[in-house]
Amino acid sequence: MKTLSILRSGAVGLATLAATSFNSMALAQDVALQYWVYSDFAQGDALAMQEEFVKEFTASHPGVTIEIVGKGDDDLTAGQVAGAASGTLPDVFMNSQSVGAQLVEVGALANIYEKWMAMPAEYRAQFDESALNACMPRPSELYCLPYTGFGSLLFRNLTVLEKAGIDPTPPTTWDEWLGQMKKIKEAGFYAVPDQTAVFNSIAEIYATTGSADSWGFNWDTKTTKIDPANMTKVLAKFVELVPLNSGTSRNDQATKDLFISDQLAFHTIGPWVNPTYAEAAKASGLKYDFVLIPGDTAGKTGGIRSYEMVGVAPGPNADVAFEFAAFLTEKAQMARWAKLLSRYNANAAAMADPDVSALPLIRVSVDAAHGAMDVAAPYFIGSVPSCYNSTVIDIASATADGEYTPEAGAAEMITKLNECLAE
């Protein structure tokens, strides 16, 4: 119960935290936690703040040492899968919810539902509900604490818009946006990246028409939830985008470069490109902003939503590891984290903090995340076979290439996706 009091005090302030920690000395044991984070968070200012969090936590938990280990996105998963096979898992880690099912399957991720329920109600109430639900595939199963997240944003190059004679009021519908894109092309610029090149940008455009109800997986019947009518409409959109796009993918460095050099008008992506664009604004006078991705009807938002998570491995350290995870995702830490990086996260209480919500990137991100579609939900149930994403990409790009009509493409895609899931 002493640990609970520590966590409760987190919101009150560090002074209290240090005081209560004195009591928990009796529980002290020597534990060394391995804490794996995204490589970005193991560099520069972000690392300094993570180290600060660790220092505060270990100060109140004598005998606990925590080692921060940075890993590239893919290397996190590879390291955990290998670690699961050899029994050397990181105790606390960040990763993407979309690999959650694999991690549960290999036993790298513990069900923390009971520990979670033992937390005070006011702690639990801090989190964004939909983010939290994504961690709960079934009642009484909770596999993660949602961490940073994103809703896709529409980054707009204002110089290009001006040169193409476009009113900088954000477009409210897909048709309006498409009209702008065509004008941009006529003015000799690229409108968007090739949205069929990667899975997430296909999902972003799908969300302009469909929603989470018709996306993702039905694990009971092992079928895709993609709706043929929606997909037909979306594939038709990709056909329309062919002459307008830059040929680079949403994630390519080259896409950022086109944007920075005033060749590309729109870039739909998460907030992580903002540091690059902010730097360019300083260095070469890039003028840009970020708005919501318009959907088919006014008021509907396109784009996807996804959260990074903090997970805990099963094992003897699981209790301390969970405490640390809970400490990290607690309002006081999440607010500091959000302010430092201007990054949206799953702690709704932290997002409501006036200092945080005043940050423009976060303000837009909150709306974006609420309107957006979960990219690969439901999580933590089945691991998505690799053929799934590649089938979506293949058929979207084949339809854009003109090999299928949108109707035939949508029908073919759904048949193949169901075959893939059935395997």
């Binding site: 995204y38 970005d40 560099q43 590239g72 390291g79 670690g83 050899s86 990181p90 460095q253």
Partner: protein, 281 residues
Amino acid sequence: MTVVTTRPTIWTVLKWALAILIALIALFPIWWMVNVVFSMPGEPVSLNPRLWPTSLSAGIEKIRVIFTETEYLRAYGISLIYAVLTIAGVLTFGSLAAFEFSLFDFPGRRILFGIILLSLMVPTAVTIIPTYLLTSQLGWLNTMHGLVVPGLASAFGLFMLVQFMRAVPKDMIEAARLDGASHFQIYWHIALPLCRNAMVTLAILTFMQTWGNYMWPLIVSSKPQLYTVGQVVGLFNSPLSHQTVDMVMTANLLAAIPPLLFFLIFQRKIVEGVAMSGTKG
């Protein structure tokens, strides 16, 4: 075999043009990368196709940031130790075994050598997971020997040394034996000195291979204290990185500096060595 002509014919001119053109194709991409590093940050690549460096100080600043804010220098050290230990082991164990396989006959020689040759055809990706599990059972994860030891029995290295040692004259060995030299002394005083060039070649190839090795260090050393250069660069190359293009390029370029320097210093030996590995085979 060159036909030396006194006055340049059209062919000589064409030949030079072609040779220079190919040299440009081979070298320009490397030069281009240097130019990306030595330019102002945040400047788009497309506005300036980077035919030459534009800002020396900005490049130096990027290198300074990488050296001070990441563990790049330590990773250099780790990669170097990893490479040197691997080279030492591959040469020692490989040459001992090659000495026997190439110069002597003993029961089981052919079958053992055959198995070793067959293993050359198994992609490393097949064995990486079982090797990893074994390494972990030995308690060698996150240690230097865990990184090095599994790579020491190089079938390729053995094969290469065997090809060279076959050229050691049998009568020299007989003569030494009659002089009362022990088996090991023959290896040490006769066989080894005679295939010095092959050893150098193998050392070089092993260096290039260990330096570029990514997957094995990635899974064996999960702790940053043992990150190799490849792993540190991997932190920059991850697709959702917050890093700007030129920082990513700087991190990549720094990884290439040691092998490039190594090549420029030892170029004659390296080229001769690689050449020999093929022609003696």
